[in-house]
């Protein structure tokens, strides 16, 4: 039986209030860390847990913190990435709306680790409700002396600024986020220098995802050994939120150990596919990752197991597709999203995403040519690994996989000028 960690209190509506959160053991870890540990110890413990970033890349969190240079004479900033916009992903929103103090406590611990005295929560503009919940929670934390000068009566100062974005997927990319937070267009920066060295206002900056930070209070309450005991192997540890959407009887954001078998999520927890229909495929980690066919779903949902299958865990925005989905239309909609959201700096991405959508659009509408398929695949290979950020790759990877794995369906569409599956992608 899995013991919930991150979602332990979300069913309790009172936990949004600081008193209730504290009554359930909240802020004890942050207080202990700030008063009794050194930043180096916090980084070491976090490294020992094996915690990997939950935003998509899966980079070890403790290691990321350790890259922040000391004694530069500049302030260090921490940015909490709450710009959750990857299609298929809706986990951070649940934490922020239902258990905001868990996130704030995590930010306190992370800020202490990197010696940050001003942290930011960059929240996407569409999350207006979550914004108000967090705004209230931050006010409560300030009133209690958990934020501000000498928090918890220690010598550590910290404030958190809640900053609203205004609708741009690319601001979820960490350097795009930093540019946006500086009041500019959200154009990702060329790396190196990495944000740990030169980030917000040219100062050392750490960007961590909401879910990553929400793990920290539990780690410092229960220890690294406890954290490592959850998960599929020593490189994939801890609890994980999975956003199970699409054709499921019980779609939900589910918390289980990192590395739960995918069929268990689909059939045991989410009730399988409605209407007795057959499974066609699964996008395991948000729209940017390659699709798995029905034959490939026997895999654990962790960073390395999915990588071995040629796909990614990403943000764990897991979309389940039944047999009625037209893969051509699905690919077209995927490409359209990236064409809509490209920042336009790099030509491969700006032009590539647009042309990808145009060509898929003409196939979908019965004007495609057989040579279009190889042309798209050629475009895909020219869009990967050649741009400032990975938005271009994020468009090319899923479309390439859809064509390679469902090529017959694309060919049918071109020859017969209609869908192989008959209907559009309806539930």
């Amino acid at each position: 039986m899995y013991e919930t960690v991150l979602f332990k209190n979300i069913a309790d509506p009172r936990v949004r209030a600081i008193d209730r959160y504290a009554e359930l053991g909240g802020y004890r870890a942050a207080e202990m860390v700030v008063k009794e540990r050194t930043p180096a110890e916090v980084i070491e413990t976090t490294k020992a847990t094996g915690l990997r970033g939950r935003g998509g890349a899966g980079f070890p969190t403790g290691l990321k913190w350790s890259f922040v240079p000391k004694d530069t004479g500049k302030p260090t900033y921490l940015c909490c990435n709450a710009d959750e916009s990857e299609p298929g992903t809706c986990k951070d929103r649940v934490i922020m709306e239902r258990d905001p103090h868990q996130l704030i406590e995590g930010i306190i611990i992370a800020s202490f680790a990197v010696d940050c005295h001003l942290a930011f929560i960059y929240i996407r503009g569409e999350f207006w409700y979550a914004y108000r919940v967090l705004e209230k929670a931050l006010g409560e934390a300030r009133a209690k002396g958990f934020l501000g000068k000498k928090i918890f009566g220690s010598n550590f100062d910290l404030d958190i600024v809640l900053h609203s974005g205004a609708g741009a997927y690319i601001c979820g990319e960490e350097t795009g986020l930093i540019e946006s937070l500086e009041g500019k267009r959200g154009h990702p920066r060329q790396k190196p220098p990495f944000p740990a060295v030169q980030g917000l206002y040219g100062c050392p900056t750490v960007v961590n995802n909401v879910e990553t930070l929400a793990n920290l209070p539990h780690i410092f309450n229960r220890g690294a050994e406890w954290f490592k005991s959850i998960g599929s192997n020593p490189k994939n540890t801890g609890p994980k939120l999975y956003c199970m959407s699409g054709h499921l009887n019980k779609p939900a954001v589910v918390e289980r150990e990192l590395g739960i078998p995918l069929p268990e999520l689909i059939y045991d927890i989410c009730g399988g596919i409605p209407g007795g229909k057959k499974l066609k495929g699964v996008i395991p980690g948000g729209s940017s990752v390659p699709i798995l066919t029905a034959d490939e779903i026997d895999v654990r949902m962790d960073f390395d197991s999915l990588a071995a299958k040629g796909t990614l865990l990403g943000s764990a925005g897991c979309m389940v597709l039944d047999e009625t989905v037209c893969m051509v239309r699905f690919a077209m909609r995927t490409a359209r999203f990236y064409a809509e959201e490209t920042c336009g700096q790099c030509s491969q991405c700006r032009e590539g995403t647009w042309w990808m959508e145009q060509v898929l659009h003409r196939i979908e509408h019965g004007h495609g040519k057989m040579s279009d398929l190889d042309m798209i695949l050629d475009m895909c290979s020219n869009m990967k690994g050649v741009t400032i950020c990975v938005l271009s790759d994020a468009c090319a990877m899923p479309v390439e996989a859809m064509i390679n794995k469902f090529r017959a369906e694309f060919e049918y569409h071109i020859t017969n000028k209609t869908c192989m599956v008959g209907a559009h992608a309806h539930a």
Binding site: L118, R124, E126, W128, G165, G183, S245
Partner: protein, 173 residues
Amino acid sequence: MRICRILFHPNSEIDVMFSEETEQKFRHLLSLYPRKRSALIPMLLIAQREQGYIRNETIDYVAGLVELSPSEVESILSFYTMLRRDPVGKYHIYVCTNLACMLRGSDRIESTIKRKLGVDFGKVTEDGLFSAVEFECLGSCTTAPCVTVNNEFYENLDVKKTEEIIDELRRRG
């Protein structure tokens, strides 16, 4: 009037009327960040909440506050989908048509909203009450399909529920 605007000196007195509450929020935002221009996007969102869209005068005024030129502000705001330069309806609807919503039938939600409003996406109804636009993933994938009305979420929609929402808002006026 675009050419006129750049003639304004950023700090000149421009007659822009925001409520005292909004002015106070502006001052608070300007005090929060190590650099003023970081407050730009939050300030534009607040201005838009009060006035429905970003007016030319607002750009001039806010540009002065964050010490940028109006054209820089216009360039920055044009990057962000939620910031708009034209009036919208009293109830502005974002309709998610992205993958997770598409799988759960957002096509039908889209056509229902167009039918109930009687205008295409991007247009305002004659009574000024409604406007709707297609929007990218709103982060409501496990409760799809979804729309937001003035940033409040309506989830697990079907045709009937969508019709009821529009009817209810129309009654409210």
